[in-house]
Every structure is written in structure tokens, then in C-alpha cells.
């Protein structure tokens, strides 16, 4: 008995091992805190850097479109308008395309192998760097659509959106490239949420005599709606922040125009273009624009997460 007890005592965990255990846990804790620190750091740093511009222009910055480093006058309306318009219109085009593709992948129109191949094709599209898409847009897409834009202008020129003579790079090209970039996001998330709809619902709909598309429209899509909405919002966030491809193809002009066929600007392309060479209060104004972009994408992202949390446990 005595002997066994000493053996047990010897087996007691060494103090050093206990300390390592605690150290390990705390290191992991600190590392998980890094995310919060970086996030907070980004918000604070961008806010404080923009402070000078913020106190000088206030909210007027958001509604004036003068951007003149010589006169030291700054307003980001053109860029903010461009950001919102390009991302919303590209999203409007992407949603039906992406959801349609997702339905094609989740229904059994063709054998599973083909559907999986198409699914991974779309996902691979997401892996292409945006700068390569920009290069492709400049040298392939722009020449390809040039005649189409001229046609668009000559027939629909009375609509303000197409009211200017197309000259090379313009907002509509940026929208097209954004569609290519958003498609994988919307498709992947829509596919996942469609797959999560229980088989029972589909069978019940078939059982009472609904046709396939009646089932899709009245049962499956409504059930998957919250997931799809969250995916759409994530895509919207991505579209607003997307920089390289848009910068390369949008034409980078700060002159405000309603027409999509004229060169435009987005916040991110303004940052990419001017940040390297800016000095003085221009830097602060650029930070202000960056702050606006960040707030926009934060709102969209947080809303998307709220949506996922709120509706994900329905079935």
C-alpha cells in the first residue's frame, strides 16, 4: 500500500508540465485576440488618419465631387456613387445568373459528374487573381464589347445611363468584370443553402403534384432564401471593396457622370491610384474615403452575419 502511494506520488504531473500547459493555453488565447486587435486597429488608425479631413469637410465630403489637390478641395461623391452603382448593378446581374447556376448544380438535369465539374469550374473562377481579370478585361473584354457599347449608345442613348459616347474604359466594363468576380461567391453560397433544404420538403411538394419548377419557386427557394441573401450580401461587400480589376478597367475619372459608358471612379480605385503619390491633406482625404469604404463594407458584412445567425436554424 505504502509502495503504491509513493509510485502514485511519482506519477504526479511535473510542475513544469503544468506551466507549459497554462502557457500554451494563454498563447493560444493571445493569438485569438490578435484578430480583434487588428480589426480594432484598422478602424482606429483609418479613423484617426482621416480626422484632419473629417474636421475640415465634415459630411460635405460625401456629397461634393470636387477633387483638386492644387486648390486643396476634396469631396468623394463621384467615387462613393461609383462604388455603390457598380456594385449594385453588378449584383443585380449576378443574382439571377448565380442562383440559376446553383439550381442547375443542385437539381438533377444532368449526371452528377457533370454538375460537379461545373461546380468546381465556377469555384476555380474565384481563385483567379483580380489583377489577372483586370489584364484580361483591358486586352480582351474591352475590344470585344466596343462595338456593342457603340450600338448601346446609338439605340438607347436617350436613357441617361447610356447617354455618353463610349470611349475605351468605362463603368459598364467594370460592372461586367465584377459580375465575373461575384458569380462564384453567389453560386457557391446559393448552392450550399439549396443543398441544405431537407429532401422531405421537396418530396412533399412533388407528392401533392407540384411540377419541378413549381417546387423550386414555391418551396425550395423560399426555404433557402436566408442563406442566399447572406451570400448576396457577402458578394456586395466584396464588390464594394474590389480594387484591382475595377481600377484597371473603370477609366479612373473624377468627373461625375450618370452614364455608365463614361469613365468612372470607385473609392478603392481612387485609393489604388492616388495613395502612392499623395501628400498633405490629400492623404487625410484619402483616409477619409477609405474610412467610408470600410464603414460601408462593415455594415454589409455585419448585416450578412446577422442574417445567417437569425435564419440559419429554421430547418
Amino acid at each position: 500500500m505504502e509502495e503504491k502511494l509513493t509510485l502514485f506520488n511519482n506519477r504526479k504531473r511535473f510542475g513544469i508540465e503544468k506551466n507549459i500547459d497554462i502557457l500554451f493555453k494563454n498563447t493560444a488565447l493571445v493569438m485569438s485576440c490578435f484578430v480583434a486587435i487588428i480589426l480594432l486597429g484598422i478602424i482606429l488608425v483609418v479613423f484617426f488618419q482621416s480626422f484632419e479631413s473629417f474636421s475640415r469637410y465634415g459630411l460635405k465630403f460625401l456629397v461634393t465631387s470636387e477633387w483638386n489637390p492644387v486648390k486643396d478641395e476634396y469631396g468623394a461623391f463621384t467615387a462613393i456613387y461609383g462604388t455603390l452603382v457598380t456594385s449594385f448593378i453588378s449584383l443585380l446581374i449576378t443574382i439571377p445568373l448565380g442562383v440559376g447556376t446553383a439550381i442547375f448544380i443542385t437539381e438533377d438535369f444532368v449526371p452528377k459528374v457533370f454538375r460537379e465539374i461545373i461546380g468546381s469550374f465556377v469555384e476555380l473562377l474565384a481563385a483567379i487573381p483580380s489583377v489577372v481579370l483586370g489584364l484580361w478585361a483591358i486586352f480582351v473584354i474591352e475590344p470585344f464589347f466596343r462595338d456593342f457599347f457603340v450600338f448601346l449608345h446609338s439605340f438607347f442613348g436617350w436613357i441617361p445611363l447610356f447617354s455618353t459616347e463610349p470611349t475605351g474604359r468605362n463603368s459598364l466594363l467594370a460592372i461586367l468584370i465584377l459580375v465575373v468576380m461575384l458569380l462564384p461567391i453567389v453560386t457557391a453560397i446559393a448552392r450550399d443553402s439549396l443543398n441544405q433544404v431537407p429532401r422531405k420538403l421537396r418530396n412533399a411538394a412533388y407528392g401533392i403534384g407540384a411540377s419541378r419548377w413549381k417546387t423550386i419557386f414555391s418551396v425550395i427557394l423560399p426555404a433557402a432564401l436566408s442563406g442566399i441573401m447572406a451570400g448576396v450580401l457577402l458578394a456586395l461587400g466584396r464588390a464594394m471593396g474590389e480594387t484591382m480589376a475595377v481600377t484597371m478597367i473603370i477609366g479612373n475619372s473624377n468627373t461625375f457622370s450618370l452614364s455608365l459608358l463614361s469613365p468612372g471612379y470607385t473609392i478603392s480605385s481612387m485609393l489604388a491610384n492616388q495613395f502612392g503619390e499623395a501628400d498633405g491633406s490629400q492623404v487625410s482625404s484619402l483616409f477619409y474615403a477609405a474610412f467610408v469604404l470600410m464603414i460601408l463594407s462593415l455594415i454589409v458584412n455585419i448585416f450578412a452575419q446577422w442574417l445567417v445567425k437569425k435564419f440559419s436554424l429554421k430547418y
Binding site: M31, V35, F109, V132, L133, L183, L271, M294
Partner: protein
């Protein structure tokens, strides 16, 4: 009697046909860009590939005859991506371990997971702006402004959320029995994690991390005003503190040049970048499908 047969002309059947073809068209439109893009890059970029491309420096624009090679950009991309990985992988895996193994699903872990998702949604150019304000403009890194090191840091901010997420999700898939068994034979928590749970989740974590690295290698926006660009060979560790070129920034800069030779170099760089990113993606996909099959058997 007739009503038992499939009737083509019924409005519901016509509608079904219509929507089915519509979704087929959607799927075709969705895969067209990838096919065209890959074909273009293979033809336009692949035709530019020569051995000299990997050894020469790029020539500054203006000389329309010969654009030189990609060596500094290629090495720069490797270095900057490695710096980002060295920072993001330990921190991300550590954070993921805490979330999956230690936190009990309380408000702290919910807050961190929320933060991870929000950080993943922060536009990549904002990461560049942040590092510019924090490191480039303050010259905090030994008095150097634009540097490869700063570029790597900006990229690591983008990699971090994806590494944490894959670690967290990979560890969550490890069955609890393994943990109980290890703790039951007297292993401490950190031995359990390092020797049992991490190894058994290794493959899924590694796949996610490699995909994250591949994505970071193509990121441009965080680099254009942190690492900037350089035309010169990278010769030693000291060069980490100076402007550093990368394939992505080279494509951006040279695509906007009016010279044909520079544009061709941009296509060649895209060829290398896209081919390596796609092959990493396809390889990890095949590997994942393969392991899934063996698991099922």
C-alpha cells in the same frame, strides 16, 4: 385516360422546360469566363515563356523592343508570400486552437468568431491602407518606407481570417472520443492538442492554409503602396527593407503601360501566376476528393 400521360403542351410542362433551359444557360454563362480566360492566358501568356524570363530583370518601360524577365518579381512574390505565411500561420493556427479546443462557446469565442468573419470581409485595399499608416508612413521598420516586409505584413492580415477559420473548423471535426482517450491516459491538454487532435485534423487544415497562401500570392491591392515595385534583383536579406517587386504588381503596372513589350511581360506573369494558383487549387481538390473516398471505404 389521356391525363395519365405526359402532355407536352400543358402550361406547367412548357414552363418547366423554359426554366430548365434558363438554368442551363445560366450555368453555361457562369463557366464561359473561366474557359475563355484560361484559353487566353495559355495562348497569350504561354507563347511568351522563355528560359530568360526566369533569370532576367524587367526593363523599365520605354524600351519597346525587350521587356526583360520576371526574376525579381517571381522571387519577390515568393518572399512576400512567405513572410505573410510566417506571420499568419502560427497566429491563425494558435487562434483556431483556442477557439476550437479551449473556448466553451461563450461570449468571448462568439465575439472572436464574429471578428474573424468581419476581418475576412474587410476590403483588401484597406489592409494596405492600414499598413501604410502604421508602418510605411511612420518608417517604423528601421527607417525604411516601402518594403517587402511591410507588404508581407499587409498580406498576412488577409490570410489570418482564413487560417483561423480552417483551423477552427478542421479541429471541430475531430471526434471528441480521441480527446477523451488522450486525456484519459493522462496526457495534458497541450500534449493532447499537439500530438492527437492537430495531427488528425492536419490534412484539412493544411489544405485550407495552402489555398489561403495561393489566394494571397495573387493579391495586389495590399501591395501597391506597401511593397511598391522594384526592377532589380533581390540579393540578400537586406533587400527585405526596400521596395520589392511581385508578379501581381508587375501585372498591374505593365498592363497599364502603352508599350507592347511590357504588356507581353504582364501576360507571361499572369500565365505563371494563374497556372500555379490553379494547379494548387486543383491538386488540393483532387486530394480532398481522394481522401474522402478512402475514408468511406
Amino acid at each position: 385516360m389521356n391525363s395519365l400521360y405526359y402532355q407536352k403542351k400543358l402550361s406547367r410542362n412548357i414552363g418547366d422546360k423554359f426554366f430548365t433551359s434558363l438554368s442551363v444557360i445560366c450555368a453555361l454563362i457562369a463557366i464561359l469566363p473561366l474557359i475563355f480566360l484560361v484559353i487566353y492566358i495559355l495562348i497569350k501568356g504561354g507563347s511568351q515563356i522563355t528560359p530568360e524570363l526566369f533569370t532576367l530583370e524587367p526593363n523599365p518601360p520605354g524600351d519597346d523592343l525587350d521587356a526583360g524577365g520576371l526574376n525579381p518579381a517571381l522571387v519577390g512574390t515568393l518572399i512576400i508570400t512567405s513572410i505573410a505565411s510566417i506571420i499568419a500561420i502560427p497566429v491563425g493556427v494558435g487562434g483556431g486552437i483556442y477557439l476550437a479546443e479551449y473556448s466553451k462557446g461563450g461570449s468571448f469565442s462568439r465575439f472572436i468568431r464574429f471578428g474573424v468573419n468581419v476581418l475576412a470581409g474587410v476590403p483588401s485595399i484597406i489592409a494596405g491602407v492600414f499598413i501604410y499608416a502604421l508602418i510605411v508612413s511612420t518608417k517604423i521598420l528601421f527607417g525604411s518606407m516601402y518594403s517587402g516586409l511591410a507588404g508581407g505584413m499587409a498580406l498576412s492580415i488577409l490570410m489570418l481570417p482564413s487560417v483561423i477559420k480552417t483551423t477552427d473548423e478542421g479541429l471541430k471535426l475531430v471526434p471528441n472520443e480521441l480527446r477523451y482517450a488522450s486525456l484519459g491516459v493522462g496526457a495534458s491538454m497541450y500534449t493532447t492538442i499537439l500530438k492527437v487532435t492537430l495531427p488528425s485534423a492536419f490534412r484539412s487544415i493544411a489544405t485550407g492554409v495552402v489555398l489561403g497562401i495561393a489566394r494571397a500570392a495573387g493579391e495586389t491591392a495590399p501591395l501597391i503602396f506597401t511593397a511598391l515595385f522594384s526592377y532589380y534583383y533581390i540579393s540578400g536579406f537586406g533587400d527585405l527593407l526596400y521596395e520589392m517587386g511581385s508578379l501581381a504588381v508587375l501585372i498591374y503596372n505593365f498592363a497599364l503601360e502603352p508599350y507592347d513589350a511590357q504588356n507581353k511581360l504582364a501576360w507571361a506573369a499572369s500565365f505563371i501566376l494563374v497556372l500555379s494558383i490553379l494547379s494548387v487549387n486543383i491538386f488540393s481538390r483532387v486530394l480532398a476528393a481522394f481522401t474522402e473516398k478512402t475514408k468511406r471505404v
